[in-house]
Symmetry: C2
Subunit: 165 residues, 2 copies
């Protein structure tokens, strides 16, 4: 299948794009294994004490993040696309089972992780956050999407390097 | 792949299930071809003058229905699952491109059409409408979901019998 990147809208979407020196299959494993998510998902000093994954379209992606002060931030999304080693999509606008969410918080978004192999054995990594309107995009940007997801990606890469060595 | 029917929740979901005497591939063709949708989708005397289909996860399903008085009812959904001759899923809670909808109308829902071949060459047809809460389910029921989708299914079957004969 030819790889087609998501056509992001600069007015509505946020994009983090980087080349990392671990292979797509290891990045995929890090994104789809609860024990791994618990290690890398929250930028330190935040932690991710809980994670559940039902890896299929319609399945649940549940996490709980915890601040150093002990405040907890539960998150739940519904997987939409599961293409191993290539594309993982989920949204907080739907509950598991594709069910519309009663009252989405102020900033529901859909996330797409795209992975492409590089000639040197690494991964061209692209994360797109898709929002309902420019205000939601701005709010997510001000929360530090690029910095936060970038710091988490560093943690993912560090973890991935410990796998299959 | 083993067929797994959607686990409908009787408190939240509506289900239309029937056996029809046309094959799954003809039902699929009727559901995924704009010219066919225009013929069968709206229970008469309503009509469907417009339909656009971009048949892929993330693609758009757009229709305009028209009452005998000329009032128009546009609808747009985002396809979630496209498994030919077996399962078609879309939602009005997401705009095309998996984008969360700014202000979904009072009753956003996800629809799943499941098709299974019968021994006699027909189709076990199941449509599930998935709602956010019991009130949305009730509202959709009172709008006549089962009768309306049933009448449209009769029209679909009549059309399908004219295909490939």
């Amino acid at each position: 299948m030819t790889f087609t990147p998501y056509a992001a809208d600069p007015e509505l979407d946020l994009v983090l794009e980087r080349e990392v020196d671990v292979s797509p299959d290891l990045v995929w494993e890090a994104w789809t294994t609860p024990e791994h998510i618990k290690v890398w998902f929250a930028p330190k000093p935040y932690e991710t004490p809980e994670c559940e994954i039902d890896l299929r379209p319609g399945g649940a992606f549940r996490t709980v993040m915890r601040s150093p002060e002990g405040e907890e931030y539960p998150g739940v999304g519904c997987y939409l696309e599961v293409v191993p080693n290539e594309r993982l999509t989920w949204t907080s606008a739907l509950a598991p089972g594709f069910r519309p969410v009663v009252a989405p918080d102020g900033m529901p978004f859909t996330a797409i992780i795209e992975l492409q192999p590089t000639a040197s054995g690494g991964t061209r990594y692209r994360a797109v956050a898709i929002h309902q309107d420019p205000e939601a995009r701005k709010s997510h940007e001000e929360m530090g999407f690029v910095e936060g997801w970038g710091a988490a990606l560093d943690q993912l890469v560090a973890l991935a390097k410990t796998l299959r060595t």
